[in-house]
């Protein structure tokens, strides 16, 4: 399976939280994992806020190296604003969802893995494939 991981699905791979079981299952079913580079900022913010042990940072480096990171162009903010006018999502949700939506046009059978409720609902409204 080809999966696009939102930060909400990467963090529980490292920290034990409500959706860890689901995230691990999704990771184990995945053959190729994609994510937007912005998720790196969010994952590291989560590790700092949750005061994780150094071992967890080491795990993060291992995970980081196994993801295919997708880069967005510098004028991406304008595109996110336009995309989000009909959705009204939080900024990070909107950015992640737009990168996923674009990715599905380039990568066949790509599925979104997210545990952010608003993003999940918006993806379903847009009839995007969600895990």
């Amino acid at each position: 399976m080809k999966s696009f991981f939102d930060a909400s699905a990467l963090v529980p791979l490292l920290i034990l939280e409500l959706h860890s079981k689901g995230a691990v299952e999704a990771w184990r079913e995945t053959e190729v994992g994609y994510a937007w580079t912005w998720a790196r900022v969010e994952v590291e913010a989560a590790l700092i806020r949750r005061k994780v042990a150094p071992q967890c940072w080491s795990e993060w480096r291992g995970l980081d190296s196994k993801v295919r990171w997708l880069h967005a162009p510098t004028d991406f903010i304008d595109q996110i604003c336009q995309f989000n006018r009909a959705l009204g999502l939080r900024a990070a949700d909107a950015g992640q969802l737009l990168v996923f939506e674009r990715s599905t046009r380039a990568i066949e059978e790509l599925k979104l893995v997210t545990f952010a409720r608003e993003m999940h609902a918006a993806a379903s409204r847009l009839q995007l494939s969600v895990q």
Binding site: D6, A7, S8, V11, P12, L13, L14, I15, L16, E17, L18, H19, S20, A23, V24, W27, R28, T30, E31, V32, G33, Y34, E42, A45, A46, R49, R50, K51, V52, A53, Q55, C56, E59, G62, L63, S65, K66, V67, R68, W69, L70, H71, A72, P73, F76, Q79, R90, A91, A92, D93, V99, R102, S103, R105, A106, I107, F115, A116, R117
Partner: protein, 103 residues
């Protein structure tokens, strides 16, 4: 790509799929010593670079970019989430961060 024999036994199906999909050769190691190679049976692997090039073109068409680096094989990372320093397993960190007014 190196793989420990224990990992190979546990995740054999995934590693076989990886070899088939990527065309990479696996080095099977026992105590850090390479004892065998697991190689793809068909020529699918030969077209991996071509597939990567096509993927990059498709992504470029939708204004995204991907720079292939390393093996990026999902099967090589086996997640084991650990308790955070604050000892709370009952939260969704990303959702909490995105909802915080000072995020």
């Amino acid at each position: 790509m190196k793989v420990k024999v224990g990992d190979l036994k546990t995740h054999l199906s995934r590693y076989l799929r990886t070899v088939d999909e990527t065309g990479l050769t696996l080095e099977v190691c026992v105590r850090d010593e390479t004892v065998a190679y697991l190689v793809p049976a068909n020529a699918k692997g030969a077209s991996v670079q071509d597939a990567d090039r096509k993927l990059r073109q498709h992504l470029s068409d939708v204004n995204l970019r991907w720079d292939p680096a390393g093996s990026a094989l999902v099967a090589e990372f086996n997640p084991h989430p650990v308790m955070a320093g604050d000892g709370r397993p009952d939260v969704v960190t990303t959702d909490a961060m995105r909802s915080a007014s000072n995020w």
